[in-house]
Every structure is written in structure tokens, then in C-alpha cells.
Amino acid sequence: MPTQNLVETHNLTKEYGKVRCVDSVNMQVPSGAVYGFLGPNGAGKSTTLKMLLGLAKPTAGDITLFGMPVKEKTRMKLLKQTGSLIESPSYYGHLTGEENLQIIQTLKGCSEKDIDKVLKIVRLEDARKKLVNHYSLGMKQRLGLAAALLGFPKLLILDEPTNGLDPAGIQEMRELICTLPSEYGITVIVSSHLLSEIDQMADHVGIIRKGGLVYQNTLESLHSHAKQQIALRVSHPAIALDLLRQDGITAAQEEDYLLLPMMDDAYVANLCKQLVSQNISLYRIEKREKSLEDIFLSLTGKESSL
């Protein structure tokens, strides 16, 4: 079980000129989690992740990695325990996949044996001697992930890692990400603009909209918001609401409807009888379901892909 936050940001802000791309983000990534960083395109996901890696300088705010504040002097030391794949994979096209990994491995100072291990994990063993210019986009993406995995860092930051992958590749990448915390003890931050993707990979989620973090909690907690409700349309909503509250039912009025928590059929029937007996006409009874998508869209302002 996660015990402490591996990554924390405090009022992290980034401005380009007068445009505020990231606005006071307080991110908390628990150790051992797969943290899904969700948001529409242009919401500030990549900029936030770049700031975590020191690739963009925050305008304001602080970053704490592994419990230590990230300063100019400590940045490289802390990043040694980090692997990343930001936007598109980085590679030297005129070198083979293996040669690319050898460069990263040497710069990271990790074991040469790691190259074989990561190539096996991303299933690029057969293409190790092939020039990267001859790789498909999906293979390049996998090579980028292999480079990020070298040295098996404590923290892996992946920005839209399934971009450019075919459906089978996407599925493979998801499965791999899900296994990283349990098999290698790696905490993963993975960004995406696709809710379904994060829903299948993450156990924690942060939702960013127009630079601001609008939601952050466990995915389970987000799912709990996706609840069912019963909507009643009656002749006298105010009187009906009072009656329901007197019965201890948590109800709320929304336009012409009264919204009640989900209850069994017998209880609903009894409730209807009670309202009718009080001369309140019952026009409609509807079952309403607020899906995960609805919650996400309401948080992100209906700008994102589902």
C-alpha cells in the first residue's frame, strides 16, 4: 500500500508571456501508484510533467521528488532515479536500437545487463540490431519506453505513451504500465487525454483543466461519484421535498425534478403512495445515471476526448 508521496508540487505555476499554462497545481503522487494525469489537449499536462523533469522552469511553486525539494543543485541527483518519455520518443535514427540504449545506459551509469532486460520487456529483442530510422512509430515508442526503464528507476514519467501505437500495442503498453509498480517497484505518472485509457491503467487520478488541477484522488473515489439517482417530477416539488426530508431521505431539487438516492423498488413504490396520499401528483419517475464520462466532462468543461 502506498505510504508516502513520491512526487509533490506546491502551487506549481508556469506562464509563457501573459498566458498561464499551469496554474497553482498541487499534485500528490503516492509511492507505488500508477497516477493517471488526465486532461484535454492543451490543458497543461506536458508542461507540468516537463517542470517535474526540469525541462521547463516553473514561474512559481515548488516541486518535491522522493521527499526532497528539487533545486538546481539537487535536480540531477534526483532525476537519476527517474525515467521519462515526454511527448514523442527521443532517439538517434542513424544508430541501432541497442546503440541508442547503450548511450542512455552509459549516461545513466546503470548496468549493461539492463539493456537486455528492457529490450525483453518492450519486446524489441529481435530489432536490437536494426537502425532506428527503420523502426515503425510503435517500435520507436517502445524503444523510448525501454530507454526510460533503463536502470529501473523509482519513478517513471510517461506523457501520452500510447500515441502512435496500434490497438494491440496500446493494450500491450497498458498491461506493461499496470505491472510496473508490482513487478519492479516503479511509481508511474502517465498522462493521457483519454479517460478510458486512464481508467484501465491508473489507481490514482489527477484531472487538469485549463492549467488547474480540478480533481485529484483515487480512481475508486472518482468511480464512486458515478452514482445512480432517482428523479421524480411532481406537481408540488417544494411540498414533496419537505415530505421526503421529514422521512429522512436526502433529496435535492433540480429544475422541475427531485433527485433522490438510489433505493429499491419497494421503497420507491411506498414513497409514491405517500406522495399521492398527500395530493401531490406524480408525473414521472426516472432512473438517472451519472457516468464517469459525465463527471469527467463536467470537470474538464466538455473539451476532451472520451
Partner: protein, 250 residues
């Protein structure tokens, strides 16, 4: 040191050395053609003549050669979008230093090859006497410094611009400027004029007798100032380039 070694590994198959050899080959051919069928007077002054010709050819060739070298070293990073990864492994300052150092090693190798060729040419033609080692070493050091100043300028441009046509065009314009400056003055404060400002041997051509006489240059104060500009440009291009590269976000 590891980062520098990786720099060499990165340029594997890019044929940077071969490209430089090809460009140097043009310069060698030029030298060879210029020194063909030497007269008795030319044989007497051959060793001095080499030190006068070398900066002139460098003024024409080196701006382009340096732009090609810098572009080859910077382009591999642009094409593979690698800085966002490298900057998580090394500081931007280290990455800049390594590019400078890698290029400078190429410069030293090329300049050394140039001077060795001049010596070989002298012995082949049978120039009278022996070359002055101090003069050759000084000329070698000054020409390397001039190349470094131009390389730093080109590297800064190549690192800042994704499109490598911009620095290459600057390099070609620098070569043209080198030709123009050669006809105008014996010194210049411009970065591309460094080769002329640092020439330690000058030529006197007598219009009536059509006799060429080479002599060691006695630097006037303004010529000395122009010479020190080479060092100034190195400091300026290094400082500005490093700051811009370090501040540039990936």
C-alpha cells in the same frame, strides 16, 4: 569524459570525419595548385609563403567548413528530439560544453592536418632551408583559435535553430565575406576576418618587377586590436551560446 565519449558514439555512421576530410581535401588541392612549379625565388621563400597562403584559404573555406561541422553535430539532436531526454541525464551546461569540446577536437585535427600537409608540400618541392617551428606553431594556434570562434558562432546557431539551412547560409555568407575582406584590408574586427587579422606573414608584391616578397608581420596597434578580437569573439559566442542553450526549454 563519459559524456564526451558518448558524443563520439552518437556520431557513428554520420561520417562527420569523412565530410571534414573531403572539405580539407579541397583546401589541400588548392594549396597544391597554388604551389605548383615553384620558381627559384618561391623555393627560397616557400616556408614563409605557406604561412601567408594558409590564412587566406582558411578565410574562404573555414566559415563553410565550421558551419557544416556544427550543423552535423547539432542536427542529430534536433532530428531525434533528444535534448528532452539528455537534459534529464546531464545539465544543459555539460551538454553544451561537450558539443564545444567535440567540435574543437575536430578543429585541432583538421588544422594539424593542414599544417602537416603544408610541411609535406614544402619538403616535396624542396623549399630552401627548414621551416621555423615557432612560426608554424604560432600560426597553427592562431588559425585554430579563429576556427574555434567561427565554430562557436555556428554551433550557437545550429543549436538554436531546428532548420539547419539558417546556420549553413550564415556559413556560406561568411565564406563570401572572407573573400571580400581579403581584397579590402589586412585586418578586420568581424568574426570572419579573424584569419586575416591573425596572419603572421604578409606579402609585398612589387607592381613594376612583379616580384613577391614575404615578411613577418609587424603588428600595428590597430592590427593587434583586430587580432585580440578573435579572443573576444570566442568569449562572446561561448557565453551567449551557453546562456541561450541553458535557458532554452525542451
Amino acid at each position: 569524459m563519459i559524456t564526451l565519449l558518448m558524443e563520439w558514439k552518437k556520431i557513428k555512421r554520420k561520417k562527420v570525419g569523412l565530410t571534414m576530410c573531403a572539405l580539407m581535401g579541397i583546401q589541400f588541392a588548392w594549396h597544391f595548385w597554388a604551389a605548383r612549379n615553384p620558381s627559384e625565388k618561391e623555393l627560397l621563400q616557400g616556408w614563409l609563403g605557406n604561412l601567408q597562403t594558409q590564412p587566406l584559404l582558411c578565410a574562404i573555406m573555414m566559415p563553410t567548413v565550421m558551419s557544416v561541422l556544427a550543423s552535423r553535430l547539432a542536427d542529430i539532436e534536433h532530428k531525434g528530439n533528444t535534448y528532452k531526454q539528455l537534459k534529464t541525464l546531464r545539465t544543459a551546461g555539460t551538454l553544451y560544453h561537450v558539443k564545444v569540446l567535440c567540435g574543437f577536437l575536430f578543429i585541432l585535427a583538421m588544422t594539424a592536418a593542414n599544417y602537416l600537409f603544408l610541411l609535406a608540400l614544402g619538403y616535396l618541392h624542396g623549399y630552401v632551408g627548414d621551416p621555423d617551428p615557432k612560426a608554424y606553431l604560432l600560426s597553427f594556434a592562431l588559425q585554430s583559435a579563429c576556427c574555434l570562434s567561427l565554430y562557436l558562432l555556428q554551433l550557437d546557431l545550429s543549436l538554436l535553430f531546428f532548420n539547419q539551412m539558417i546556420p549553413l547560409v550564415v556559413g556560406l555568407c561568411g565564406s563570401m565575406l572572407g573573400v571580400i575582406l581579403m581584397y579590402l584590408k589586412t585586418y578586420s574586427f568581424l568574426p570572419w576576418g579573424g584569419f586575416l587579422s591573425s596572419a603572421i606573414v604578409m606579402m609585398d608584391w612589387n607592381r613594376d618587377t612583379k616580384v613577391v616578397t614575404y615578411y613577418y608581420r609587424d603588428f600595428s596597434s590597430i592590427e593587434f586590436l583586430a587580432l585580440t578580437m578573435v579572443a573576444v569573439w570566442i568569449i562572446v559566442f561561448y557565453t551567449v551560446g551557453r546562456i541561450l542553450f541553458t535557458r532554452k526549454e525542451s
